[in-house]
């Protein structure tokens, strides 16, 4: 009989995926860093510009950049908080209230927007809230003299929440589903009301899902530039828009790269803080984790 060759698991197996990671993540990041120290755009047919610190000094002195960064972070915070507040009940309902056989249906409803192009979603929302759109017409018809808030920051927030809510719901759903009903019941019987059961049992146990949800919502929202450009109006610009315009309109890749790097670092720091704070909160409530 022929002896079957057994394939032993080997650390080399990680090579293809590690290589891909290297190629698609590390390399671009390194290039971004490199470009930060270059003058103008070497791919725009200009002669070799040489190294410079000019981009960095310009960034430090730029009031616009810091203003926009702050505004973007604020928008990110608002959108994330709204998403968390809206997603917890939804995820809870899906994981604990809806009968098991209908959960698949709910899941499809949540991920349905993913089947549509992002741009289409934005235009649909614009259509809904514009002057003379469905929402305004309906409000006016019942006698509420509402003015369309399209082309304001509120519109940007609305569209971003609409786009990113499913990510938060899915993240929270997966960790809430893992919390056994018995744990909730045990908490109730031990004298905790629903609010305290949430803060002491559900929150710490869903914290990992919450963290990944925050990561998936906050980071892209802060860096978004399509939505503010389309629905945010003249005052709606965010830091992503500024970076985008450096590449696209000003053909100033070096400056764009510096701004991107700073945004990246700021986001990493903020996520580290959020992650640390969540773990601390979890620990202070639940002992060790």
């Amino acid at each position: 009989m022929k002896k079957k060759k057994k394939i032993q698991p080997n650390s080399l197996w990680a090579l293809p995926s590690a290589g891909l990671l290297l190629l698609l993540t590390i390399a671009p990041l390194a290039m971004l860093l490199l470009f930060s120290f270059m003058n103008r755009n070497m791919f725009a047919g200009q002669p070799w510009p040489g190294w410079t610190m000019g981009n960095i000094t310009r960034m430090m002195a730029s009031g616009t950049f810091w203003d926009l960064l702050l505004r973007s972070l604020r928008t990110g915070l608002i959108v994330t908080v709204i998403c968390i507040a809206a997603a917890y009940p939804a995820a809870w309902a899906m994981a604990k209230v809806v009968p098991e056989k209908r959960r698949g249906m709910c899941m499809i409803l949540v991920i349905l927007p993913f089947f549509t192009s992002q741009l289409l979603l934005i235009y649909a929302m614009m259509n809904l809230i514009q002057t003379g759109g469905l929402l305004m017409t309906a409000l006016n018809a019942i006698g509420i003299p509402a003015k369309s808030f399209l082309y304001t920051n509120a519109a940007t927030v609305l569209v971003l929440v609409y786009e990113y809510l499913p990510y938060m719901i899915l993240c929270l759903y997966s960790s809430i589903e893992g919390i056994g009903d018995n744990l909730i019941h045990a908490s109730l019987i031990l004298g905790a009301n629903k609010v305290r059961t949430f803060t002491h049992i559900v929150f710490p146990m869903s914290a990992p899902g919450l963290l990944s949800g925050i990561l998936l919502v906050f980071v892209p929202v802060v860096g978004s530039f399509v939505e503010p450009g389309l629905v945010g109006g003249s005052n709606g610009m965010m830091v992503g828009s500024l970076i985008n315009s450096q590449y696209k309109d000003n053909l100033n890749m070096g400056y764009g790269a510096v701004l991107s790097c700073v945004l990246l670092i700021v986001l990493c720091v903020i996520m580290a803080i959020i992650s640390f704070a969540t773990k601390k909160a979890q620990q202070s409530i639940g002992g060790d984790v």
């Binding site: 018995n182 019941h185 019987i189 002992g287």
Partner: protein, 350 residues
């Protein structure tokens, strides 16, 4: 310590009635077992008592006070779950102290009472262990400490031992009963294991398909099973169909080739009845001895404590259990004689 009364509980799930007019009471400090096969409604009763489930009709009284509409967190009832339900995000001390924290007990007192409770379940010094590091038996002890530390009025145990292996289970049976006596807490214990119920309880309620088959102390319920179901579920008695007859003031159930003395408990001569005879009620005797019935031995099975002798009494199949040596020298296929040792055999009208 409190008296628990359950009155006329009805409950249906999706038009399937799982509880039909369940009523019983537990005296203060007593240990009551709800025993029955899976799906008999025993866990539903427990969940109604602690408020996790609402009954369609009926009420639950603790110390005479109706708690039917009280929310679970206000009922002051302790519950130990089958799968322990310890909070995985907390260590042992935080788990045990959770109920006290929710009742806003000062921190020093929580620490003291948690240590006491852990001492009680023989887990002193386990305060800072992680729940995941504990064995099944230890986890169940933590769950018990967590349920007892708030000094609830009633303790409910929902098949707490079924996930443990045999040896640990026997140990915990003893331990739980011991602690229950020490604390003196009124306890309702749900189990499908008849041996567990018999060993641990003051009172047993035998449930079948949502109604009570029999209630009594373990000895009575075992020796005087009130229904066919009871005789079968507890210890699997042999059911012998025969005719009820009287001779010299004594009553018998007689079949084609056997006659068994019974306790007269209703019915008249000539009724067809089923006598419930436990395997250990038989003893071997010689042909012609008083009360001797022919027994054909078909198969011998060794079960450890005793031999199970499968055969036929007359035409009817019978399992006899005989302690070790008594079965020595009995060969499969032999024709023997047996008589009934017990004088309290019960029977049921067909």
């Amino acid at each position: 310590m409190a008296e628990l009364i359950v009155k006329d509980l009805d409950k249906s799930f999706d038009q399937h009635q799982v509880l039909k007019g369940i009523s019983f009471s537990v005296k203060s400090g007593d240990f009551l077992s709800l025993l029955g096969p899976s799906g008999c409604g025993k866990t539903t009763i427990l969940r109604i008592i602690c408020g996790l489930e609402t009954a369609d009709a009926g009420e639950v009284l603790v110390d005479g006070k109706d708690v039917t509409k009280v929310r679970p967190e206000k009922r002051d009832i302790g519950l130990v779950f089958q799968n322990y339900a310890l909070f995985p995000s907390m260590n042992v001390a935080k788990n045990v102290g959770y109920g006290l924290k929710m009742h806003k007990v000062p921190k020093e007192e929580i620490d003291r009472r948690v240590s006491e409770a852990l001492e009680l379940v023989k887990l002193g010094g386990y305060e800072n262990r992680r729940v995941k590091q504990l064995s099944g038996g230890e986890q169940q002890r933590v769950a018990l400490a967590r349920a007892l530390v708030t000094k609830p009025r009633i303790l409910l145990l929902d098949e707490p031992l079924s996930a443990l292996d045999r040896k640990v289970r026997a140990e915990m049976q003893y331990e739980i009963r011991n602690i229950q006596r020490q604390v003196g807490i009124t306890t309702v214990f749900v189990t499908h294991d008849q041996e567990e119920a018999l060993t641990m309880s003051d009172q047993i309620i035998l449930l079948n398909q949502g109604h009570i088959e029999q209630q009594g102390d373990p000895y009575t319920i075992y020796s005087q099973p009130a229904t066919e179901f009871a005789s079968d579920f507890l210890g699997k008695a042999n059911l012998l169909t025969g005719t009820l007859t009287e001779a010299d003031g004594k009553w018998f159930v007689a079949g084609e080739k056997f006659r068994i003395p019974v306790n007269h408990c209703g019915g008249k001569e000539g009724d067809t009845v089923k006598a419930a005879v436990r395997g250990e009620y038989f003893e071997f005797c010689a042909q012609g001895d008083e009360g001797a019935n022919p027994f054909h031995l078909e198969k011998k099975i060794f079960t450890g404590l005793s031999w199970k002798l499968i055969g036929a009494l007359g035409e009817q199949p019978v399992d006899i259990s005989a302690l070790g040596m008594l079965a020595d020298g009995l060969d499969e296929g032999a024709d023997l004689f047996v008589r009934i040792r017990a004088d309290n055999v019960v029977y049921y009208n067909n």
